[in-house]
C-alpha cells in the first residue's frame, strides 16, 4: 500500500490543459506534451470542484466519526462526569483534569492485566494455529486443476466468512455445547458431562477454532491470487532440471508467496491487540471473565457497562498507541528482512 498511489506531480501541468481536461486525465504512461508553468491552485480548484465535492460526504463522515472521537480521548486524562453538562461532549469542558491518574490505576488493576495476558496468549495462539491454515488450503485448492471442482470448493469455503459472529457462536454452541449434538449423543451412550462451550481452560482453543471455521477459507483468496501470478515457465524450468512436485513447491511456489505472507504477517502483528471482540463479548458469560476478557471487552465492560468512561478511554488509548507502534515496528522488521511490508520505505 503506497500512501501516494497513482498520481504524478501536480504542479507541472500545462496551462493549456486546463481548458482541455482530457489531457489532465492522461494516465501516467502517456508522456505529457507541453510541460509548461505551474497551474495556479485557483484554476485547479475550479477545474476539480466536482471531484472535491464528491469526496466531501465520505470525508465528513470520517472526520465526524473517526477524527472527532480521537479528540474525545482527552477524557482519559480527566475524571469525566457525563452529567456535568446536558451534553456528553460539552461535559468534557466541565470535568476536572486528573493528569495520568487513570493510567497509573491500570498498573494496579489485576483485571486489566488478566485482559492483557489473555489478549497476548490468544494472539500467539491465533498466529500459530490460524495463520498457516489458509496457506495450506490455498496450496491444496491450487493443485486441483478441474475448474468446476475448484469453483465449488471455493464457494463452500468462502461461505462462513459472511456469517455473523452471532451465527458462528450459535452454531458452535448447538454442536459442542452442553445441550448440543455431541453432548446429547454421548449422553445416549452413557458418557455424560461434555460441554466445550463453558470450559474455561479450553476456551482459547475454542475461539481459535471458531476463527478458523469462519475465516480460514476466506483467507485463501489472497494466496490463490499470488499463486495465479507465478509464471508457468518457472515450474517448467524447474521440472526440466529434475525437480519433483515437492521441490517445485518448495523452490518456486513458496518463494512466490513470500511477499504476501510477509505483508499479512505484518498486518496481523500490527493488529495483535485486537484478537476479536464480538466473539468474546458473546461468550464471556458462558466461560467467565477470567478466560474470556480481552482488552476490547475490558474497555466495553468498564466504560459502557459501569460508566467509568475515563478509565476505559485510558485503556483504549494505551491499546491504540501500542497498536500503532506494533504496525510501525512490524513493518520495519519486514524491511529488514528485505520485504516490502505495508508501505514502502
Amino acid at each position: 500500500m503506497s500512501l501516494t498511489a497513482g498520481s504524478r506531480p501536480d504542479g507541472t501541468r500545462p496551462a493549456a490543459a486546463v481548458e482541455e481536461p482530457a489531457a489532465a486525465l492522461a494516465p501516467k504512461a502517456v508522456p505529457r506534451k507541453h510541460v509548461a508553468g505551474k497551474v495556479p491552485w485557483r484554476i485547479r480548484l475550479r477545474r476539480d470542484r466536482a471531484l472535491i465535492l464528491m469526496t466531501l460526504p465520505a470525508i465528513g463522515l470520517l472526520l465526524l466519526f473517526n477524527y472527532v472521537p480521537l479528540l474525545g480521548n482527552v477524557v482519559a486524562f480527566q475524571d469525566y462526569d457525563p452529567y456535568a453538562s446536558s451534553n456528553g461532549i460539552t461535559a468534557i469542558f466541565h470535568s476536572s483534569w486528573v493528569g495520568i491518574e487513570q493510567f497509573s490505576r491500570m498498573l494496579d488493576d489485576p483485571e486489566f492485566w488478566t485482559a492483557v495476558k489473555n489478549t497476548i496468549v490468544l494472539f500467539l495462539l491465533q498466529l500459530v494455529l490460524f495463520f498457516p491454515i489458509p496457506i495450506a488450503l490455498a496450496l491444496l485448492i491450487n493443485s486441483v486443476i478441474r475448474p468446476r471442482v475448484r469453483a465449488v470448493a471455493q464457494a463452500i469455503m468462502y461461505l462462513p466468512h459472511f456469517f455473523s459472529w452471532v451465527l458462528v457462536v450459535t452454531v458452535f454452541q448447538q454442536i459442542f455445547g452442553g445441550a448440543g449434538i455431541i453432548a446429547q449423543t454421548m449422553e445416549q451412550h452413557g458418557w455424560g458431562g461434555f460441554d466445550l462451550m463453558t470450559n474455561a481452560s479450553l476456551f482459547k482453543f475454542l475461539v481459535t477454532a471458531q476463527s478458523v471455521w469462519k475465516d480460514a477459507g476466506w483467507g485463501i483468496i489472497v494466496f490463490l491470487a499470488a499463486l495465479a501470478a507465478v509464471p508457468t515457465d518457472l515450474y517448467e524450468a524447474a521440472a526440466m532440471d529434475g525437480a519433483g512436485r515437492w521441490r517445485r513447491t518448495w523452490h518456486v511456489t513458496l518463494p512466490a508467496l513470500r511477499p504476501v505472507i510477509a505483508l499479512l504477517l505484518v498486518l496481523r502483528v500490527g493488529d495483535a491487540l485486537s484478537v476479536g471482540f464480538e466473539q468474546f463479548l458473546l461468550q464471556r458469560d458462558a466461560v467467565g471473565r477470567g478466560a474470556s476478557e480481552v482488552l476490547d471487552t475490558y474497555v466495553w465492560n468498564v466504560g459502557i457497562q459501569f460508566g467509568d468512561f475515563s478509565y476505559a478511554a485510558a485503556v483504549g488509548l494505551i491499546k491504540g498507541i501500542i497498536g500503532i507502534c506494533l504496525v510501525l515496528g512490524a513493518n520495519k522488521f519486514a524491511h529488514l528482512l528485505g520485504e516490502q511490508g505495508v508501505y514502502k520505505k
Partner: protein, 308 residues
C-alpha cells in the same frame, strides 16, 4: 457439439502440461479426501441447523436435540415466527437497515472513490491520506460512544448506520478499479461535454458492475451481521435487529421469541426448532447472495489488500 458433450468437456480437467508428472492414486485420494473434509466441515453444521428448523417437535425430541436425518419436514416453525411478533419485526428492521445502509454507504463510497481516482486532481493526495490514516488507528470505543450519544443518535436507526457507514478499504478497492478503466473512454465523454458526475454515472459505473456488486455485498453483509451498535445504542426492544434477537434466544437462554413462549410451554412448538429457524432466517440472505458475486471476489480483494 451437443449440450451433453459440452457438459462433459467442462467437467474434464484441462490438459496437463508435458513436464508435469501424472498424479499418483494415493496423492489424488488424500487430496480429494482433504477437500471433501473441509467442505463437510462447513456444510455439516449448516445442514443440521436447517434440517432441525424444518422438523416437527416429536422428531426433534426423539433426536435429543438436533436432527441430522430429515423426517416429516414441516414449515410450522417458520409460519409461527413470520406470523407477526418479535421475529417478524426484527426481520423488517434488519432488512430496512441493510437496504438503506447499503444504498447510503455505496453512494458515499462510489462518489469518494471516483473523486479520488482522477490522477492529479487538486488535493486528492491530502484527502487520500486523511482517509487512509483512519485505517491505522481507531478512535476507540468510549469516545465514539460519547459522540454518538451527544449527537442524539441513541435509540434511532441512524446510530446503526452512520458511525460505520464508510469503509476506507472499500473505497480503495473501488478507486483501484475505477483507475483501471481505460482513460480514452472518459476522455471521449469529456470532449463530448460530459461533466464528472455524468461520466461516473454513464461510463464508469456500468463498466464496474462486478466490483460494485462485490462492495455492495460487503456493505450489506456488514449491516446484516451487525449487532454491537444496536446493543449499545438502542434501548428499545422493539427496535432490535434480527441478530440481537438471536443473541437473546440462544445466548441469554430465553426459550422462545416473545409471543411464542406460550406455545412452547404447552408443548405445541419446540424451542430448539424455533431457535434454529431464527438462525436460518439470519443465515439465508447471505448464503444466497454470496455465491453470485463469488467469481469477482479475487479481483476485488486483490486491488484492495495487496496493491492498495
Amino acid at each position: 457439439m451437443s449440450l451433453n458433450t459440452q457438459l462433459i468437456r467442462s467437467l474434464q480437467a484441462p490438459p496437463r502440461p508435458a513436464w508435469e508428472e501424472a498424479p499418483s492414486r494415493t496423492g489424488l485420494t488424500v487430496k480429494g479426501g482433504l477437500l471433501v473434509l473441509c467442505c463437510l466441515g462447513v456444510l455439516a453444521p449448516l445442514w443440521i441447523v436447517i434440517v432441525t428448523s424444518l422438523s416437527p417437535k416429536p422428531v426433534i425430541d426423539r433426536a435429543g436435540g438436533l436432527v441430522v436425518v430429515p423426517e416429516g419436514i414441516t414449515l410450522v416453525n417458520y409460519t409461527e415466527l413470520l406470523g407477526g411478533g418479535q421475529v417478524s419485526r426484527a426481520l423488517m428492521v434488519s432488512f430496512g437497515v441493510t437496504l438503506v445502509g447499503t444504498l447510503f454507504s455505496m453512494t458515499v463510497s462510489v462518489l469518494a472513490a471516483y473523486g479520488l481516482s482522477r490522477p492529479g486532481s487538486l488535493g486528492h493526495r491530502v484527502i487520500l491520506m486523511t482517509l487512509m490514516a483512519t485505517m491505522f488507528f481507531g478512535a476507540g470505543l468510549i469516545p465514539t460512544y460519547l459522540l454518538v450519544q451527544s449527537l442524539g443518535l441513541t435509540d434511532t436507526y441512524l446510530s446503526l448506520i452512520l458511525p460505520s457507514a464508510v469503509s476506507v478499504f472499500n473505497i480503495l478497492v473501488l478507486r483501484g478499479f475505477f483507475m483501471g478503466i481505460s482513460p480514452e473512454l472518459t476522455e471521449a465523454a469529456r470532449i463530448d461535454g460530459a461533466g464528472d458526475l455524468r461520466i461516473l454515472l454513464t461510463i464508469i459505473m456500468p463498466l464496474s458492475r462486478a466490483v460494485l456488486a462485490v462492495i455492495s455485498l460487503f456493505y450489506a453483509v456488514g449491516y446484516w451481521s451487525a449487532w454491537f451498535n444496536a446493543s449499545i445504542y438502542l434501548t428499545d426492544q422493539q427496535m432490535m435487529p434480527l441478530q440481537n434477537v438471536l443473541i437473546q434466544l440462544v445466548q441469554k437462554h430465553t426459550e422462545a421469541p416473545t409471543g411464542l413462549q406460550q406455545a412452547v410451554r404447552t408443548g405445541e412448538l419446540s424451542a430448539l426448532g424455533l431457535q434454529m429457524a431464527v438462525m436460518v432466517l439470519a443465515l439465508v440472505p447471505v448464503a444466497i447472495a454470496s455465491p453470485f458475486v463469488q467469481r469477482h471476489f479475487k479481483k476485488g480483494m486483490l486491488t484492495g489488500a495487496v496493491k492498495g
